[in-house]
Amino acid sequence: MAKAQTKAASVVPFDCSGRDYEPVPGDFVLKEYGADSELDTNFASQSFWKEVRKKFFHNKGAVVGLVFLCILTFFAIFGPFMTPYSYSEQSAAHNLAPRIQGIENMGIFDGSETMTTTTGSKKYNGYAEGKLYDTFYWFGTDKYGRDIWTRTWTGARVSLIIAVAATLIDMVIGMSYGLISGYFGGKTDMIMQRFVEVANGIPRLVIVTLLLLILKPGMITIIFALMLTEWIGMSRIARAEMLKLKEQEFVYASKTLDAGSFFIIFKDILPNIIGPIITQVMFSIPTAIFTEAFLSFVGLGIPVPQCSLGSLISEGYNSFTTHPYQIIPPIIVMALLMLSFNLIADGLREALDPKIKEG
């Protein structure tokens, strides 16, 4: 700050040498936003975001991604309520193939599956055998007789919550770290960047795995462990953007008005770099879903009977040659989730990049 003040003082255009007036801190007081003050909303950022929105919705892939994400989120919230079954309720109706009202008359999703044995293959319908004529499991049931429809959407919900929560916490940590490091520069930056270099050299997944071996697996601990994985990338982006912006006039203007460092960092600069940060968040969420699925597969995921997409896939994996329908729904939902986040992130990046012109 001291450096900034001398810089600001040196560019004062008036010749003050003749008068013995010493500038005091009270000369420039930052005005609080109140009822009598108005923000200039006609210019500046508004048109930029309008442009971004236009470019984003011009991008077919991004729109498809957004639509998919909305549908998936809708089902993740309401899907489990659409059936009379709960995600942990076990029944005798185990390993039933998918059966859907109406469509079953067309010969597909009628609850029959082809069993391959040593003597050859035959068609088998668990609903007919078990005399369950009025029962419909849309995605079938697993080996404990739990409804896969309910479990898939409950799992999608859990995976989404974990990924979004972990990424948002990452964003806050990484962003603050990068912004502070970039803004203060000098020794602070050097020490903070050395720390990042060392932290970056540690393979995160190894640490996450070890951490989960120690802590008891559960949603909170998984979020905590995932938190450690993505903040470095976020901090790099925030720092790079900060280095670009901190020499700009509006920052000097704010300094002249005696704004504190934290005001400048979080109120003046942050709103200007929010675009790249959101893009990075969109890229980070699929990574978090990936990592969570990996942990489930290794056996360090959400404890049973709760489920996530990863744990559903690793459960279905055990019987995927005999009952492939059990593993297909969670895989498709997961792939669609990753796909839509990636498409949205791509669209955002292109929309926010001023270099890429429309066309």
Binding site: G201, L210, L213, I214, F297, G299, L300, Y317, D346
Partner: protein
């Protein structure tokens, strides 16, 4: 340049020490003990602790630990195969993992480059869209899903390749795991190559090359691809690391006797010594690859070297 390399090496060594420290602390925090056998009484347990040096002060334990790790003495396995030196367990498994990993990187890099270049040359056409769709699917689907799909289609149904790893035909049984592993690398490289190539093709020196009368292959390969390759090297390092983690699950699915499946087994049977040793090996490989790529990058691109030295 020497100063830059020296700095990078020092940072890497320091990182390695930090990792050793973290691993050591984590090992102290592991729940339970490897000697949870109910048949053991207290004196027998104390004897075992003494045998493995677990009764000494923590500082001494750490120092001996660092010395042992750096000399390749990882101790013995507690659970997976009792009293076998871990270095022995790893020695037989590491080559298999390395081989599959190498295949996967090679395959992913080559196919990814080709896809990316094709997409960039026919930018904004149907061909570009197809390549983009392939690469988006590649980054969106976890490698173990590919592994399951491939082992179901080509192993279980078509029976072209063995479904599980067979030590009698290593080459043939490495095909499916390598393909499954390479998908993510391939897709990432394709995406990156495409955007780099498009940027390079728009540049002034490409316009110059074109106005000189160059066309076709010479233009794309000699001028565009060479310049686009420089940034691609940087993404290769994190991709190789992603590959390592992907290999854990893929090795498990194909029952490959590599270090990945060893780590998964060790995690599931609480064999800490093995987990910690393998974590160390993974970390050391990771640090080495990062160091190698950073130095390589510095040699190729003088701008990076100079700017890093300046700061």
């Amino acid at each position: 340049m020497k100063k830059y390399i020296l700095k990078r090496v020092l940072i890497s060594l320091f990182t390695l020490l930090v990792i050793l420290f973290v691993l050591f602390v984590l090992m102290q925090l592991m729940p339970g003990s490897p000697f949870n056998d109910e048949k053991l009484n207290d004196s027998q347990r104390a004897q075992l602790y003494a045998k493995y040096g677990l009764d000494k002060p923590v500082v001494i334990q750490f120092l001996t630990y660092v010395k042992n790790m750096l000399t390749g003495d990882f101790g013995v396995s507690y659970n997976i195969s009792k009293n076998t030196p871990i270095s022995e367990l790893i020695a037989t498994r590491l080559p298999i993992s390395m081989e599959i990993g190498f295949f996967a990187v090679f395959l992913g890099a080559i196919v990814g480059l080709i896809l990316g270049v094709i997409a960039a040359i026919w930018h904004n056409t149907i061909i570009d869209n197809i390549c983009t769709i392939i690469s988006v699917i590649g980054v969106s689907v976890p490698s173990y899903v590919f592994a399951l799909f491939l082992s179901y289609q080509f192993g279980f149904k078509a029976k072209i390749f063995p479904m599980l790893f067979d030590s009698k035909m290593i080459m043939k049984s490495s095909v499916l795991p390598s393909i499954a592993l390479s998908m993510f690398t391939m897709a990432s490289i394709a995406r990156f190559t495409r955007s780099e190539m498009i940027e390079v093709m728009d540049s002034d020196y490409m316009l110059l090359a074109e106005s000189k009368g160059l066309s076709g292959r010479a233009l794309v390969f000699r001028h565009a691809l060479r310049n686009a390759c420089i940034p691609i090297i940087t993404v290769l390092a994190p991709l190789i690391v992603d590959l390592m983690t992907g290999s854990l699950v893929v090795e498990k699915i194909f029952a490959i006797p590599g270090i990945g499946s060893l780590l998964v087994n060790a995690i599931q049977s609480n064999d800490y010594n093995v987990v910690i040793s393998l974590s160390f090996i993974y970390s050391a490989m990771y640090i080495f690859i990062m160091l190698f790529v950073d130095i390589l990058y510095g040699i190729i691109d003088p701008r990076i070297r100079l700017s890093k030295e300046g700061s």
